[in-house]
Symmetry: C2
Subunit: 397 residues, 2 copies
């Protein structure tokens, strides 16, 4: 994909960081940053951070880490990713680049109870997660200049690349491998969209490919073969009958799920299939580590006669405990308000959790709108998120 900011064209600029955070979001949306094309946005963010004298800024690839150094007893991380999923291809889709404002009425009666002064901001990344990045930057602007207030805790900002693609490409993962000391903290907030609710920890996710064998034969002489698709019936029946658990961890209820997400078998309309493959996804609560998750799946598959040797583990991401019993987390929940909820999707809080840093998700926007053609966020939600985090970090401000 060609960069929309080729050499020679004017570099994009952001409004002052003390502008309305919704306008700051719109400026970020207008800088195209689909995964693997984060460079121009990273350049703008880097220049913005380096202009703040209280921050020490490091750049690793297209990931930026900025830290205050007030020598406070506690340090927290505010993290968000700079990349977005690709732009929508459907004609007329509004969740694209550049952004646009719509009055609330434009999205139908279900939004009619929004305050009249709340406008909706459409664009790729509106919820996932440039509104969160805008809140991060606004807080950096607030604390980073020489005359700014001193926060209750030292703060580390992380703006990273390659979150929406293969886990091995993650810019946050690169910092974990190459400079984990930059991430040392007592607590981390990931500004992924949670609709302004604290979502603690996250479910883990593992994938398995189960191969059910058969013996090929001409379908006119089916008795010479063994039908692998028919042989998959007990496996599908076991998955259909499986009752997923809801597991309470540190006061939050994590709903699990065990699902066939893909099935494939057969090569031609006149051949008995000699193999049927079923891809299975297990979403599991943070009371289990990866090994325990695998053992659980193997035990379910065994009830369908599926042996361990028929199963390949193709993907594994550990769950993260919510960590809400940590004092820094408790103070955060008390400051921002609301009732914490479990996070069902896997997010990078798991990387912090693996480093021993309790982490939660807390950001503006509805996660269900992420990646959709109509991705949007309300200006009020962005302002509310900034206000909540300001109450926590600058209680006297």
């Amino acid at each position: 994909m060609e960069s929309p900011h080729p050499a020679g064209s004017p570099a994009p600029v952001l409004p002052p960081l003390d502008s309305d955070v919704a306008l700051l979001t719109a400026s970020l949306l207008d800088i195209h940053s689909v995964s693997d094309h984060e460079g121009p946005l990273a350049d703008v963010v880097e220049a913005t951070l380096r202009a703040l004298p209280r921050l020490r800024v490091e750049r690793l690839g297209d990931t930026l880490v900025a830290r205050t150094d007030f020598g406070l007893a506690s340090r927290v991380v505010l993290a968000g990713h700079l990349d977005t999923v690709p732009l929508p291809t459907a004609p007329g889709a509004r969740g694209t680049v550049p952004s646009r404002w719509e009055p609330p009425a434009a999205v139908g009666p279900s939004d009619s109870d929004l305050p009249a002064d709340t406008d909706l901001l459409y664009g790729r990344g509106a919820t996932d997660m440039k509104s969160g990045v805008a809140v991060q930057l606004a807080l950096a602007g607030l604390m980073g200049h020489d005359a700014g207030p001193v926060p209750a805790r030292d703060v580390t900002w992380v703006f990273y690349d390659h979150e929406e693609v293969g886990s091995e490409l993650s810019g946050l993962g690169r910092v974990v491998r190459e400079a984990p000391e930059l991430l040392e903290a007592d607590f981390a907030v990931l500004l992924e969209p949670t609709d302004g609710v604290v979502e603690g920890g996250c479910n883990g996710t593992c994938r398995y490919v189960v191969t059910v064998p058969g013996v090929a034969a001409h379908s006119g002489r089916a008795w010479r073969g063994v039908n692998a698709v028919h042989a998959a019936a007990p496996l599908l029946a076991a998955l259909a009958a499986y009752e997923p658990a809801t597991v309470r961890v540190e006061g939050l209820d994590y709903r699990e799920g065990l699902n066939a997400v893909r099935i494939h078998g057969g090569t031609a309309g006149n051949v008995i299939p000699d193999a049927c493959t079923v891809e299975v996804n297990f979403r599991f609560a943070p009371d289990k580590d990866l090994e325990q998750a695998h053992e659980h799946v193997f035990s379910v598959l065994a009830t369908a006669g599926v042996g361990r040797d028929q199963v390949a583990i193709t993907d594994e991401s550990a769950a993260a405990r919510p960590g809400l019993d940590h004092p820094a987390a408790a103070a955060f929940v008390a400051a921002v308000g609301g009732t914490p909820q479990p996070k069902y999707g896997w997010t990078d809080v798991a990387r912090f959790s693996a480093l021993g840093v309790p982490a939660v998700n807390f950001g503006p926007g509805d996660a269900l709108l992420a990646h959709t053609d109509e991705e949007h966020v309300s200006a009020g939600a962005i302002r509310d998120c900034l206000a909540a985090l300001t109450r926590w970090l600058l209680p006297g401000a």
Copy 2:
């Protein structure tokens, strides 16, 4: 595909029709005739037939029809197709063009009980079905020249194109549509490979695509969706539990079969599948017409909760009764010997059956070798087939 016989190169020629029929087969194998490229072979066969003064020859496209006109009380058809499936692509495959002879020992100990004088002829079409075409041509040579013996029945030879591809392209189908009077007869023999055994009629075959619906959702929130792959479990269980019938028709036992031949569901590793499609193939005995076959399949699917509106009929080919109770057929079986068997695969006997002409399959070679990389036939089998048909048509010869 480029023709191996471009304009300007010498036209292929056949040996005299009274040569060893195995050598005649080898000459036919050396003329490339993959479906849609039958022209050069049709030209050679046409020239050969037109050189026989007792035959009236018609050409429709690349299909040739030749008839004796002795005014006998009975007429029989000898039919075979000129085309082959594509050449093998595996290095070293012997079922290709040109043909080659191998001693029987070369194919391993299981063939060691072949007579010592039986050589094996490898090549694309060796079994399917240029050895049968060679037998047809040898019989035409025997009866077609001025001094030849007069057969017990008038004979119609059909050599047709496009058998190995879509049914709608069949050269035999073209004759049925455009000049069915050319096919009028009391009985037909299709020289498809049957290992020298009379195979009567054929099973029918129908295909269905069953769509099991679901509702997509993120697999991290599976409870918001309906898993279509899980919902296919009862269908697969019903197919696995189905006990296919063996149906006796006119003394032959037809084994049926109902099988899933393809299954597909799911779009991504983190999405609950919103549809699962299962392609089902029903092979059914000639006691049923197409309508009865469909009704049977619908009734089986209904036991799995599959409604008629979830099923699309994607292919249907009627079965053919063996017709062995017809006097011409009985005389044929008596002359060639052996115990007739049912034909499980669908063949063009069904086209003759639909015209009211009882038809059987009878030809040299093992049908299980057809389309394989190691397609071959024994010289003895070709000679035996010619001898059997000669006993039937020229009982005094």
